[in-house]
Amino acid sequence: MRILRGLASYPPDLRPCVTALGAFDGIHLGHALLISTAVERGRALGLPSVVCTFDPHPASVLWPDRASRPIATLDDNLERMKGLGADAALIIPFTLEFSRMEAEAFVDDILVRTLGVREVVVGFNHTFGHDARGTAALLAELGLRRGFTARVLPPFRLQGQTVSSGAIRHRLGEGDVSRAAELLGHPYAITGTVMRGAGRGRTLGFPTANLKPDRPLVLAPGVYGARASWEGGAADAVVNVGYRPTFGENQYWVEAYLLDFSGDLYDRTLRIEFLERIRPEMKFSGVDALKAQVMADIEAARARRDRRERSS
């Protein structure tokens, strides 16, 4: 998949094309269906499929104070677009100035002139252009006049629930990582660099990797069963997300205890996929109580892993 940053880099050989248009935060099942539809339509028409998206997420530019945190990084999103078979991803830098572009100008200058779209696939609630005046209906109507087809996908539902980035963020905010993974179609994941911590885990008898996450988390504090991976290795893990209230520190931190692993991961980049929630974050009366709970968490995670391995 070719990655194009900015409109100026758009190459003529990707024109005409079929486009999937959206902000695509996290690439959930609905996004995946949308991008796959564009890929399929491209193959049917013999045209390249181009995912047209924005960075940073438009909401974070338009409403910096109240925008929700993104579910995934742009790199993660791009990786999934590639996995879905898109030929290219066009990343339009989203600025306040860009946001003032009229909806018709966005269609005429970008979709028609730059991309030469034959078909545009969008979600039913996608809006574009100044004041979000560009709706799916407007795109369909302009398509009729400019000679492209707008495919508007209805809300994607899973077991009666609409799959949306908002719904997923809500689940993550409650710590329900397994339901979030169902809606996403993949586990919620973060990456971070392993830092030198206080070494407290080691003194408690279970060394942990202290992670500095690459971005603010959407996830509720708590203890999670996870899969950790790094270049050259992977292990199941018990991950504590939160403020570590027992030690009175007020720092958002991610601590991973890797099951049956010994070695040095300092300064490495660790990727953590959250699979299930073990328990919410709690404050302990003392170090012994904490130690007992952590042992129990690790045992629970180990048991779950063994169950998973037996069943697969």
């Binding site: 039913f124 709706t135 799916a136 209906a137 407007l138 369909a140 109507e141 009729l144 006049r145 707008a150 508007v152």
Partner: protein
């Protein structure tokens, strides 16, 4: 002021938030045309094709307003307003249920054909010598007579609830706004016109129209004249007759001439191939109904 005596029809893509009259006023200045008019009002919020009649072509206005029109209309379901479009005050809003193409198609069917439509209060129609919209602004609602109007076709182009995009082909006097409201009522959700683009008036298509920014930025008329069409472009559906030289002279002077053929309106060309006017044929006689004068360069009167 030097006046231009040329005639023609300029299809313009009217921009949003200007009245059809403002378009005419702007073009009167740019084209320096003494006579200018438009071929069928488009609501200020609507965009799209507005044919502008210039010079002698203004005499064809009654024929232009008779032409079929095509619109792309975006209807917002779930909201009713006093003006039947989104510019008005909201009277009621409701949740829109999941509607499929079949149920909307069924609801649209009664609006196609020779139908009766009650015109909106917000319209330029008269009631006892006053415009209905004047009364509406005073909060007065009067009973309106349903009018017979022709709708040739309505096609559901896109279903993106709560919005629908419809392609409507209709005859004169049809209010698309009212269709939005009446369709909403038929579906039980209420409805209002969210957006309207006129894509065709008779033979004139929006794709060929002068873009609105060109109209606004034109310094002189020439860039616009280049896009103007001859007056008889409006009459393509009418049978044509070509007269001999003496007959041309007689016809142009208002006399009936002998020109057998099918009865009805005929566009009449002179021996030189120029449009002389429109005649009505009864039996073998062709009687002038409307005469157009050729684009004769007249002596120019300069201001003193």
């Amino acid at each position: 002021m030097i006046r231009d005596t040329r005639s023609g029809i300029l299809p313009v893509d009217k921009g949003p938030d200007v009245t059809s009259f403002q378009v005419v006023a702007q073009l009167r200045r740019v084209l320096r045309a003494p006579k200018i008019g438009h071929g069928g009002t488009l609501d200020p919020a609507a965009t799209g094709l507005l044919p502008i009649l210039i010079g002698e072509a203004t005499k064809l206005t009654p024929y232009l307003v008779e032409l079929d029109k095509e619109y792309l209309a975006t209807v917002r379901l779930g909201v009713s307003t006093n003006t039947q479009d989104l510019a008005g005050a909201v009277l009621e809003s409701r949740l829109v249920p999941e509607l499929d193409e079949a149920s909307i198609g069924k609801a649209l069917a009664p609006f196609v054909g020779l139908i009766r439509q009650v015109p909106p209060m917000y319209s330029a129609l008269h009631h006892e010598g006053r415009r209905l919209y004047e009364l509406a602004r005073e909060g007065v609602e009067v009973e309106r007579q349903a009018r017979e109007v022709t709708v040739h076709a309505i096609h559901l182009e896109a279903l993106t609830l709560p919005d629908l995009v419809l392609r409507v082909t209709c005859g004169k006097g049809f209010y698309v706004r009212t269709l939005a409201a009446d369709l909403g009522a038929a579906l039980g959700t209420g409805g209002a016109l969210a957006r309207l683009v006129r894509t065709r008036v008779g033979p004139y298509r929006l794709e060929e129209a002068a873009p609105w920014n060109l109209v606004l930025s034109a310094r002189d008329g020439e860039s616009l004249w280049a896009r103007a069409l001859p007056p008889d472009s409006a009459l393509q559906a009418m049978p044509a007759a070509r007269l001999s030289e003496p007959a041309t002279r007689a016809f142009a002077n208002g006399q009936s001439v002998t020109e057998p053929g099918a009865p009805g309106l005929v566009r009449v060309y002179g021996a030189d191939g120029a449009l002389v006017g429109i005649g009505v044929r009864r039996g073998a006689l062709l009687k002038p109904e409307r005469l157009l004068h050729a684009d004769t360069p007249r002596s120019r009167v300069l201001p003193a």
